[in-house]
């Protein structure tokens, strides 16, 4: 019997709206995420992007990797800029200065531009109800400036500003739960995704684009450079993050939670940590503590989801 799922990639549009020639590192699963997201957004869209890896690698003058209209202004304001584009187009179309047309507006930022420095602008844009998508490409640290910790860096990970040393075991705080913060804004659509699951990512961005009002997609984007893994393993580690529930995939549609990937038996977190340089220093005690937290968080999430057997 043919496993049709295996052939699912062929269903995605062939057109590339994020082009070759971008300067992302080898095996950058964030560049892959941008590629898939752009496929889902389609040509009738405008992107406002924060300063960060994807901005730098895609736009060094005089060339651009973007096939769709794109604007970058600064680090912390992608959501505000996107909301301005949306407001401008809305007014111009209403006043007859531009023909009416459905244009999808997407703000994009890394985990720093979303969960840290960009959180206020994002919260404001979501609260104001603009018809826009915001995509967070979460590679779990400030990779562009050299792997410094962010609030999205997982507990225990060693970064250049949360280094593992004789008295410290890397990041000492738990990963900020951005999707929950967005869901708490009461916006109509929130999802988590990962570029290791490109069809799922594509479909979620498609759904986000159809929503009237603000939508938020939080995409785990494996960074071989920052996670200290071989570039060829970028997809495998994305899958392991989901399969261990270090990064569960789910949607919150009009307040209703549903898991998009539910494993009857989670893989142990050690499967995910093994081979990642950023976790290499962790003691068995630290790993056990992280495992306990991940299991508990996952059970809490499952309890909220309406599509799982409890």
């Amino acid at each position: 019997m043919i496993n049709l799922d295996l052939y699912a990639p062929l269903m995605l549009p062939k057109e590339e709206l994020f082009t070759s020639g971008h300067r992302a590192c080898q095996g950058c699963a964030e560049a892959l995420a941008v590629r898939i997201v752009c496929k889902a957004l389609g040509r009738n869209s405008i992107v406002a992007m924060a300063t960060g890896c994807m901005e730098i690698v895609s736009s060094p003058l005089p060339t651009t990797a973007w096939q769709i209209p794109w604007i970058h202004v600064a680090f912390e304001n992608a959501a505000a800029v996107a909301s301005g584009v949306e407001s401008g187009l809305k007014a111009l179309m209403r006043k007859g200065r531009l023909p009416h047309k459905k244009i999808t507006i997407a703000g994009m930022a890394g985990d720093g531009g979303t969960a840290d420095i960009g959180l206020q602008a994002l919260s404001g844009a979501m609260e104001r109800g603009h018809d826009m998508i915001f995509v967070c490409y979460d590679n779990e640290a400030y990779m562009n400036t050299g792997i410094q910790r962010s609030s999205a860096t997982p507990f225990g990970a060693s970064t250049t500003t949360s280094p593992a040393g004789k008295v410290k075991a890397g990041q000492e705080t738990w990963k900020k739960n951005m999707p929950e913060i967005m869901a708490a804004h009461g916006i109509p659509y929130v999802a988590t995704a990962c570029s290791a699951y490109p069809i799922d990512l594509y479909e979620k961005v498609k759904r986000a684009a159809l929503v009237k009002g603000p939508a938020y997609v939080h995409c785990l984007s494996v960074c071989p450079t920052g996670w200290r893994i071989p570039s060829g393993d970028a997809i495998r580690y994305g899958r392991l993050a989901v399969e261990t529930a270090a990064f569960p995939l789910y949607e919150v549609i009009d307040g209703k939670y549903q898991l998009t990937f539910d494993s009857p038996k989670l893989k142990p977190i050690t499967d995910y940590f093994k081979g990642q340089g950023r976790f290499r220093h962790l003691t068995p005690e630290a790993v056990a503590r992280i495992q306990e937290r991940i299991t508990r968080d996952y059970e809490k999430l499952r309890a909220k989801c309406e599509n799982v057997n409890k």
């Binding site: 992302a24 895609s58 005089p62 651009t64 490109p198 060829g232």
Partner: protein
């Protein structure tokens, strides 16, 4: 064809440094970065497209005969295609 950045005079820059042409990054060939390259064994290939969908550099394409191969202008040699191939049809070889 765009000139390299270090050949622009100030008078030649667009208003607001806008890049009016889309997708011009294609003129920059990241294939130079490669130290290993993928080779497809078409006997094993089932044409599922996983190598294509997971390429972060849009450097895998489908040929007229439906088999896949890499674009040497852009393939950075990351080996994701090789690792993700369900039939192990792609081997990474040393060199460009």
């Amino acid at each position: 064809m765009t000139k390299p950045a270090d050949q622009f005079k100030w008078q030649e820059l667009t208003v607001g440094f806008v890049i009016p042409e889309p997708g011009t990054a294609r003129e920059y060939h990241t294939g130079d970065w490669r130290s290993t390259h993928p080779v497809w064994d078409e006997k094993k290939c089932i044409k599922c497209g996983r190598c294509w969908v997971f390429c972060p550099d849009m450097a895998v394409f489908q040929k007229a005969d439906q088999y896949f191969t890499m674009n040497p202008d852009y393939c950075k040699g990351c080996s994701i295609c090789s690792r993700e191939c369900p039939t192990e049809a792609i081997t990474m070889l040393e060199g460009k």
